[in-house]
Amino acid sequence: MVRAESTVNLSDLSDLDAQKIWVDEVLAEHRASQVQIEQLGLLKLSTGLKGLMWLLRLYVIFMVVVVIVNVFQQTH
């Protein structure tokens, strides 16, 4: 990345599509992140965290029912 900052020349911008190597240099951090993300597996969720996620899911389902009741109350 540091090398890219020092070697890139504004006058060559128009030729960038042809300069694949420059693209690689400028996007070095992006490529590293892509590799890292591709290697990610599933997160190990603790029982407490799983419980919290289920609780939040049930919260949404309950609230959807409440909204339906509320709309019914307002329209009748």
Partner: protein, 441 residues
């Protein structure tokens, strides 16, 4: 996704990055800010959408200048806390929110998150088109033409072919949200009272916090914090190509967006306060009625600007919400999903972007569809689906494998959990007000 498509996307992004590097190397700080701002301002002004402005109008017209002004400012502070996390997530991972959720939590939980997003996005998009139709209707533009125009604006993404250009065009449109500031000035408010309300949070809503006031409170929270914002900003940060070096600028971008959006929202409340002062019952007003009802107090020019503001709010939000849907779709299906890729290389991405807007616009044209009911409840529903979204957000922000040294600090976690608790408790209070007859705070 083909290698050629990836190269095309990266090539376009590399041009933007080179401009950023040059500005940074030459210490051109203002140019650097100009190059790096975008997603934060867009997401905040985009969230000042048609139902949000209607919600602020209802707050101003039913309760005047007082409690709701600082309350709305507080909701934008909370929005900043949530959106700042998406800046870090996007800049570090260089991928979208849906992608991270599916990778780290698996398809089961990912499908839930996507279900919430699609449901709230479609409902919200319908209300954007309600705003577009109402705003255009003030100027005598037929509904069908307004809907087609809205879909046309969303479809601009097809022809620009570059994230950078799309972002600049949409930013220009989004700044139109500030049109509510001159409307507020035209209403000749008591500026001392405006300043006092921010300092004291008074006067409190007349009649206390009953069911209707709580719905309005929840709608105002939903006017600033919604699931699509998380998906949009992380997707846009990633598509723009921001890196870890740009996190500070991403924060500035989001803070400026929050400030501008607060100004526009507060202006909308101030602009509609004359209806409260003149004891007009605005509780059942639709979008268009506000503009007409305000004419005696802000004149025809003010009313026209108000209607234009609603139209603009709908257009910008229709664009950003459609884009957030398309980003999420592309991330989940692992298809090309970038505004840096031309339509022929990412047909599914652009198809979803335009199709969801067309479906929402089409629903608005169905005769007898209960549009006002949807407009009132859409922000409420958005708030109620936020707690799990904030849960995913906070877990991802503390995921060392993704975030490394950019994971949330204790302070940021405390603030984030505070936002999650606030939103959850607000939902529980709303539920109590619906279930328990006569419930008040």
């Amino acid at each position: 996704m083909s290698l050629k498509t990836i190269e095309e996307e990266n090539s376009a992004r590399a041009r933007d990055r080179i401009n950023v590097l040059h500005a940074r190397n030459r210490h051109q700080w203002w140019r650097l800010i100009w190059l790096l701002v975008g997603p934060g301002i867009l997401v905040m002004l985009g969230e000042n959408d048609a139902p949000s402005m209607l919600s602020y109008s209802a707050s101003g017209s039913q309760f005047g200048i007082g409690f709701f002004l600082p309350f709305v400012a507080l909701t934008f502070v909370m929005a900043f806390i949530a959106q700042e996390i998406t800046v870090r997530l996007g800049a570090v991972s260089k991928t979208g929110h849906a992608d991270l959720i599916y990778r780290r939590f698996g398809r089961f939980w990912g499908n839930f998150a996507m279900g919430d997003l699609i449901f709230t996005n479609l409902l919200t998009l319908v209300t954007e088109f309600v705003g577009i139709v109402a705003g255009a209707g003030y100027f005598g533009i037929p509904d069908t033409v307004a809907v087609l125009g809205g879909v046309g604006i969303v479809s601009l993404a097809l022809v620009v072919g570059r994230y950078w250009l799309w972002e600049r065009v949409t930013l220009l449109m989004a700044l139109g949200n500030l049109i509510f500031i001159p409307v507020a000035i035209l209403s000749h408010p008591a500026w001392g009272q405006v300043a006092s309300s921010f300092a004291t949070w008074h006067p409190l809503p007349a009649g206390g916090f009953g069911s209707n006031t709580l719905i309005l409170l929840l709608a105002d929270i939903g006017a600033t914090i919604t699931p699509w914002m998380l998906f949009f900003q992380q997707g846009a940060v990633s598509d723009k190509g921001l890196t870890t070096k740009d996190v500070t600028h991403g924060r500035v971008d989001t803070a400026v967006g929050a400030l501008l959006a607060t100004m526009a929202a507060a202006a909308c409340i101030v602009a509609t306060a004359p209806l409260y002062l003149h004891h007009m019952n605005a509780s059942q007003f639709g979008t268009a009625q506000f503009a007409q009802a305000l004419t005696p107090y802000i004149g025809h020019l003010g009313s026209a600007l108000f209607a234009l503001g609603i139209l603009e709010a709908g257009l910008v939000a229709a664009t950003t919400i459609s884009t957030s849907s398309a980003y999420a779709f592309g991330e989940v299906t692992r298809r090309a999903h970038s505004l840096n890729v031309p339509a022929k290389k990412a047909p599914a991405f652009y198809l979803v972007l335009i199709l969801i807007a067309m479906v929402a616009g089409g629903i608005v044209l169905i005769p007898g569809f209960p549009l006002e009911a949807v407009v009132i409840m859409v922000n409420v529903i958005a708030v109620l689906t936020m707690p799990p979204a904030i849960g995913f957000l906070l877990i991802l922000a503390n995921d060392s494998e993704i975030m490394g040294r950019y994971k949330s600090t204790r302070l940021l976690n405390t603030l984030g959990i505070g936002v999650g608790l606030f939103v959850s408790i607000a939902g529980i209070i709303y539920a109590l007000s619906v279930i328990v007859p006569g419930f008040t705070l």
